[in-house]
């Protein structure tokens, strides 16, 4: 099929989370939709040593790739694609000249901390495209490496999301008004409330309304989540018993179940029916990230499947959008007249053609970083790029930088069982302190020290082959047999970690631009990233460390917090070195706002300049709040879909 000649109502760039939600909603209202997806089809590519052949597989084969991976990273089940590359957590290295191993001594604590003067961009050798992508898809300019990744294949990053589906707090929409920080959102909690209901239904969220009625969150009369809350783990209950009734810095430490896009026990809905999405109940594989083996966890392929079933959606895989074409006959605020895209046949093979897809309306839903990159690359007619009158495209790159604390409980809590996270501490998400420091939520991890400490591998190796003092490969004697078994039972059953998702404010110094020197295999520029933390966020880290001490001391936890394994970045704040981790929550790069001068889109995610262009994704979010962003993003996508339907 040569889709380039067919006329569509809507052309969507990106068949990931937002793209699937939009396609489904628009197609259900009988609009003809074309989706251009850069990556491989939904049941997609598996590991194949020969990148000149396309070998596709299904979830079971992704599982095999995961089982065989030495480093079981979020990316490990999914093969790299040089024609639509994605970043990997293994690439996140310190950005020179910052040296992870040499924090300034404490007596230099008062010296100016980050942002340090930006290092002169080091020349990067990208001539060997594949080798250079193997060393990291991002061009990291620092001073702190950006720690989050995404996936480019049908279904997008939903392949390895964790499942956390919290609503934002009403106050999160009013940061400027309430705390004189950053900006307000051009909409309120109330504006999104119905869309939250829709998104929770589509994802299939398991949670308890009473427990979620915190910090002013309200639900519509008689509302129930699609499924009952996922049962808490022994660890969740232990932390609740230890600190649940206490406060830290004025915030309650009450432990509550985390709303999750994982199947639990169906609820009877308002209309009397029982929720049923046809997928299985969670089996507690402790593997939500990087892949749920049984699809008990929602992913966007579910919604894309429904979209395709309407008969109104065509999707072209292996179609990388490279240029948003504007109407040359309208000098002011031209409309979009087409999307230029490149195709390829294999992950390492050449470009097989360049085409133009046309429709009446256009949506960019290509993930926060790729969407901004595409708009900025589309500069043939307007040098600043498409939709960029405000200069904000690509700016305000944000995440929920994470602080990890880990230790050993005095008594067994039996980690490595159940979903990766079932509960959290939500009290510190809002409070008067937000006029000076970042808020955070605390995620309780059920995977022992797997994230910060490479468990169980690193600790068993410490028992069996203790590292010699000189760090060499010289053999050393350790324990074995029954002593090893006892040691595993007594330590691993007590391992746990908590993770703080810390608020980050929009900042002009954090941005992504298309690289002028580094390209992927199709010749498309790679993302060049500048990233740092301001005092507000660093104060959040400081508070997170203090909260960790408070919780651990109260509960007699042996505190093992140190340098997380494979830590890419570090920063020093008031003499203390912190090792932030990426949360995968990439936000802010095409933010919505009140005026065309300070934002990229309006509250319906319509470009201020180009009347038939919408830009939808977590990049739409003006501030990060502390809730994992995707439920809110999906609610926003449904809002945008309504606006698009109304505009026909």
């Amino acid at each position: 099929m040569d889709s380039s000649t067919k006329q569509y109502d809507v052309v969507i760039v990106g068949g990931g989370w937002a793209g699937s939600a939009l396609a489904y909603k628009l197609a259900s209202a009988n609009k003809k939709v074309l989706v251009l997806e850069a990556g491989i089809a939904i049941d997609g590519l598996i590991t194949n040593p020969d990148e000149n052949q396309l070998v596709t597989g299904n979830r079971a084969e992704f599982m095999n790739d995961f089982f065989m991976a030495m480093a079981k990273t979020p990316e490990s089940p999914y093969v790299q694609n040089y024609n639509a590359p994605r970043p990997s957590v293994l690439d996140i290295q310190p950005v020179p000249p910052f040296k992870l191993t040499q924090p300034p001594p404490p007596d230099q604590a008062d010296l100016p901390h980050l942002p340090e003067p930006a290092p002169p961009p080091a020349p990067i050798n990208c001539t060997d495209v594949k080798a250079s992508i193997d060393n990291g898809y991002f061009i990291q300019r620092g001073p702190i490496p950006f720690g989050s990744t995404y996936e480019r294949r049908g279904g997008g990053t939903s392949w390895h999301w964790l499942g956390t589906s919290l609503r934002m707090l009403p106050n999160d929409f009013k940061l400027k008004t309430l705390y004189n920080q950053a900006v307000d959102w051009p909409l309120t909690y109330e504006d999104l409330s119905d869309y939250y209901d829709q998104a929770e239904f589509e994802i299939g969220v398991s949670a308890d309304v009473n427990e979620q009625t915190i910090h002013g969150i309200t639900f519509s009369e008689g509302y129930v989540y699609p499924m009952a809350k996922i049962p808490p783990t022994i660890l969740d209950n232990t932390i609740q018993a230890g600190v649940g009734s206490l406060t830290f810095d004025g915030s309650s430490l009450n432990v509550t179940g985390t709303p999750a896009g994982r199947n639990g026990v169906p609820n009877q809905l308002k209309d009397g029916s029982f929720y049923d999405n046809g997928r299985r109940q969670c089996q507690g594989n402790t593997n939500c990230t990087p892949i749920c083996p049984i699809q008990a966890k929602y992913d966007a392929t579910v919604t894309m499947g429904k979209a395709l079933m309407t008969g109104n959606v065509d999707i072209i895989y292996q179609a990388v959008a490279t240029n948003v074409l504007l109407d040359k006959n309208t000098p002011v605020n031209p409309e979009v007249v087409g999307i230029e895209y490149k195709t390829y046949e294999t992950t390492g093979g050449p470009c097989t053609g360049t085409f133009i897809a046309t429709g009446t309306k256009y949506i960019i839903a290509a993930h926060a970083i790729e969407a901004a990159k595409l708009l900025l690359m589309s500069n043939t007619q307007i040098p600043a790029g498409v939709a960029n009158h405000s200069g904000q495209v690509g700016k305000n790159l944000m995440d929920h930088p994470m602080y990890l604390g880990w230790g050993l409980m005095p008594e067994p809590v039996y980690p490595f069982r159940g979903p990766l996270s079932t509960s959290g501490i939500e009290g510190p998400r809002d409070g008067a302190f937000r006029s000076t420091r970042a808020s955070f939520r605390i995620e309780i991890g059920n995977e022992g020290w797997n994230w910060p400490g490479g468990a169980p591998y690193a600790q068993v190796i410490d028992m069996v082959s203790p590292m010699p003092p000189d760090g060499s490969g010289t053999p050393t004697a350790g324990i074995f047999g029954s002593a090893l078994r006892k040691a595993i039972q007594s330590t691993f059953t007590r391992q746990f970690r908590i993770g703080f998702l810390i608020e980050q404010l929009p900042d002009d110094n954090c941005y992504i631009v298309p690289s002028k020197t580094c390209f992927d295999n199709l010749g498309v520029p790679r993302p060049e990233i500048y990233y740092q933390f301001d005092d507000y966020t660093m104060e959040g880290f400081k508070a997170a460390a203090a909260a960790t001490d408070f919780i651990f001391n109260t509960m007699n936890v042996e505190n093992n917090t140190g340098i997380p394994v494979g830590s890419g970045g570090a920063f020093v704040y008031q003499g203390v070195t912190y090792y932030p981790q990426g949360a995968g929550h990439v936000m802010g790069t095409h933010r919505m706002g009140f005026t065309r001068d300070d934002s990229v889109t309006d509250a319906n995610m319509k470009s201020w300049e180009h009347d038939n262009l919408y830009i939808v994704g977590c990049g739409s979010m003006p501030t990060t709040a502390t809730s994992n962003p995707t439920l809110t993003m999906m609610a926003l996508a449904f809002k945008a879909a309504d606006a698009i339907l109304a505009s026909f």
Partner: protein, 158 residues
């Protein structure tokens, strides 16, 4: 060269698990055979003399009565730096399903591209470490919805 029987008996002493668990009578998973094959994989670069020495030492103590066997293994194999590293790799095969480069400490990550590898998906899912702590391999649960709310039974150590 070490035989499969020798490998299983030595593995039992090193892991603390009965040989009948490592190589069950009805062997559906064929894990022992897959792990044993690692010893003759040329890319693993096992010095032949080291493997011979480990085999000989094991055969010289394998008849030790069970109550004293661990002490004998400790003295003759674990504390013997000429062969301990290879013995440790046999432990990793069983606990993780992983073969590590013998020339470095498995906890040193560099160089990133090396010969460390997971033997097979089945070797991973049968790794002993998970069951030892009352859990399951990450990504391979046979539990029912909600099992995680209950205290697991840890295996008995004999």
């Amino acid at each position: 060269m070490m035989t499969l029987d020798e490998f299983v008996a030595l593995s039992s002493a090193l892991t603390g698990y009965p040989a009948s668990t490592l190589l069950p009578a009805r062997d559906t998973q064929k894990v022992a055979a897959a792990l044993y094959a690692e010893l003759s994989l040329s890319t693993n670069n096992i010095p032949a003399a080291q493997l011979d020495q480990l085999t000989q030492v094991w055969n010289s103590i394998s008849g030790t009565p069970p109550p004293q066997l661990e002490a004998a293994v400790n003295t003759n194999i674990i504390q013997n730096l000429a062969i301990t590293r290879l013995a440790q790799n046999i432990i990793y095969l069983w606990y993780f399903g992983i073969w590590y480069d013998l020339t470095k400490n498995p906890n040193s990550f560099l160089p990133l591209k090396n010969i460390d590898h997971v033997v097979s998906p089945l070797a991973y899912t049968n790794g002993l470490v998970w069951g030892e702590m009352g859990a399951h391999p990450m990504g391979f649960s046979v539990g029912e919805f909600g099992y995680w709310a209950n205290v697991p039974t840890l295996p008995v150590i004999s």
